[in-house]
Symmetry: C2
Subunit: 400 residues, 2 copies
Amino acid sequence: MHYNKNFYEIRSNNEIFEKIVDEKKDIGYYKLPYQETHDIKEFAKTVKQKHIVVIGIGGSSLGTYAIHNFLRHKQNGKKLHFLESTDPLDIKKRVSKVDLEDSLFIIISKSGTTIETISIFKYLHSLIKIDKSNCVCITENDSKLKIYADKNQMKTFDIPKDVGGRFSVFSAVGLVPLSILGVDIDDLLKGCKEVNDSFFEKEEYHTHILNKARFLVENKNRFNINVVFSYSSLLEGFNKWYIQLWGESLGKLNINGTRQALTPVGLLGPVDQHSFLQLIVDGVRDKTVTFIKIEDFEEDISIPNISLEGLEELDYIDNIKFKELINYQADSTIKAVEELKDIPCDLITIDRVDEFNISKLMYTFQLLTSVVGKFVQINTYDQPGVELGKIILKEKIKKK
Amino acid sequence: MHYNKNFYEIRSNNEIFEKIVDEKKDIGYYKLPYQETHDIKEFAKTVKQKHIVVIGIGGSSLGTYAIHNFLRHKQNGKKLHFLESTDPLDIKKRVSKVDLEDSLFIIISKSGTTIETISIFKYLHSLIKIDKSNCVCITENDSKLKIYADKNQMKTFDIPKDVGGRFSVFSAVGLVPLSILGVDIDDLLKGCKEVNDSFFEKEEYHTHILNKARFLVENKNRFNINVVFSYSSLLEGFNKWYIQLWGESLGKLNINGTRQALTPVGLLGPVDQHSFLQLIVDGVRDKTVTFIKIEDFEEDISIPNISLEGLEELDYIDNIKFKELINYQADSTIKAVEELKDIPCDLITIDRVDEFNISKLMYTFQLLTSVVGKFVQINTYDQPGVELGKIILKEKIKKK
């Protein structure tokens, strides 16, 4: 008989950190900050089309959308479209906004056989001639999609086998479309690098992430919901990306066979002050809240000095810049939540709306996810739970 | 000494139903299905502008967006815009898409002094002359906004005092903009009426809603998260509306002073199969799931019969209509979740994409919310938890 004393133990922070250091060699996303981007940038320069159509779902689109959404006002005027849902009305609506004759189609699928992606790709073939002049594929180097691309002499970019979909935004998956849009992908990687280096080299920095992860894990039965409350519409895409990252990574059976889960919720202030905030403030204490605010929006529009007859009591808002107002709103909500004293919350402040800052934010959340995964002893990087549905789907269609 | 035996009791279904019948006279949304719509329809006919700009937040916009989003492909070509966030970059982006000279501005605020709404309204004054020719106000009949409108001879529509923001979609709040867009508002009310009449008159129907509410309440500590998993992009707005309705209505201290909360999550299939589904399937059993699917999309685009070299293994999807594919996907996910046997789930099927069906769906959720509220002994219709933040905000700005 043998008894394994470490089987259901939560480790010390040091041991968890050592485990993360160990997995660096097998998990590809840790290496992405140091990749060579020359080929991607050179390709991006050659793209003449005005419309960029990303065909990809989940990890193949959410990260790109998050960064595009954050930096939209700083891009080069090309129009980015996403085709991912199989909803026929959604496909029709989105395709109607695309100038098909002036489009580059970017097909993204890690496995190369994602049913939504290939269905939509086939549908596009019935609308427009697709060949190497208007199509590139981003996929694993030995996938069926890669074979297709090679047979048609299409340009391809590689998704490394050890980079999972929801950790792939800083691989070609995100960098190719973003570079075409004029996003400075080297600055993106600089942000990743700074976070990665700090995490592995500075004790202060990894202690911070380890402590947060430990708190979330040790209180996961009480606070099973983790809210990200972002005070800017620019972070709408980030919220969606976070939901996939957190939910799909951490919703797992662990090595003890017990179900783990921390449920992500993404909110946008100030809109969701008029919706979800009531639930946070007066509801059951089952949520942690991470507020995110932007220090400087670099946009100076303000509320004019106009008195509206009947509405004079609101004149105190005159001459305030909207960027000040939204941060007053953030600060007021944060203060109101803090004063309750029994809702665990923290605040991330983004200095500026640029590449460097969004990638730091996203990379930090990736690290936090990895650390929580280690604490709860799961495989953070797989998604075995969705296989059954795919098998049933294939049977259903083939039976038809 | 006196002991009140009913203080922390869950009542019988009958008693709960009686309480709902009782509150009908005080809670305005139950009366909305029977309202007169002549005035709204006549006004809608007079609107010549191409752009319709709704300035309103939370309950003043989410319901309209939900119905607009569902019926978008059936409308009359007018362009609907929403201004709600105080994010300066968001305001700039949205305003840039509006032809201000050819716009009708609809200002919606129940209280008449919502800070986001009035801030944006003032900002618009600095861009374009706003008067009775291009502006209407929807508000309570004695609000400050009503005074403003009257002073400027602007057309106004009334939000009844006993109709709360998140229950106001079938009042002028939703009906005015939707009618202008060509939505058949009488058909909307017909759907509400059918649900309301069935609920109050047919035992079978209210038993169904009461049983569902009872299950959710009796298991609320185990299943504290209620997922709505909608298989159509058309329901994206509905999901957002549901999140406000559920979260803000049910996140309350009850008459025993204990915190209540059922946390809403809105998902869109098939996209979120690639994100949140893993968490549902393998994660902790803390979620109920309500699937919603659309029986007929009335859109016949299909996957063409095209074999792509290298991708031949996917030829089994050829000739399938997308509306079939998305429902195969829904059915497969539902089957996979059902087979687990320990995730409570139910399925709502919408027959057709029309006014009658979306209002039935939304009205049913309103009733379900009211019934759950009665079970947990809260005031479903107020939102006291957000007041502190508003007070702090006002102080912060005035101090500036």
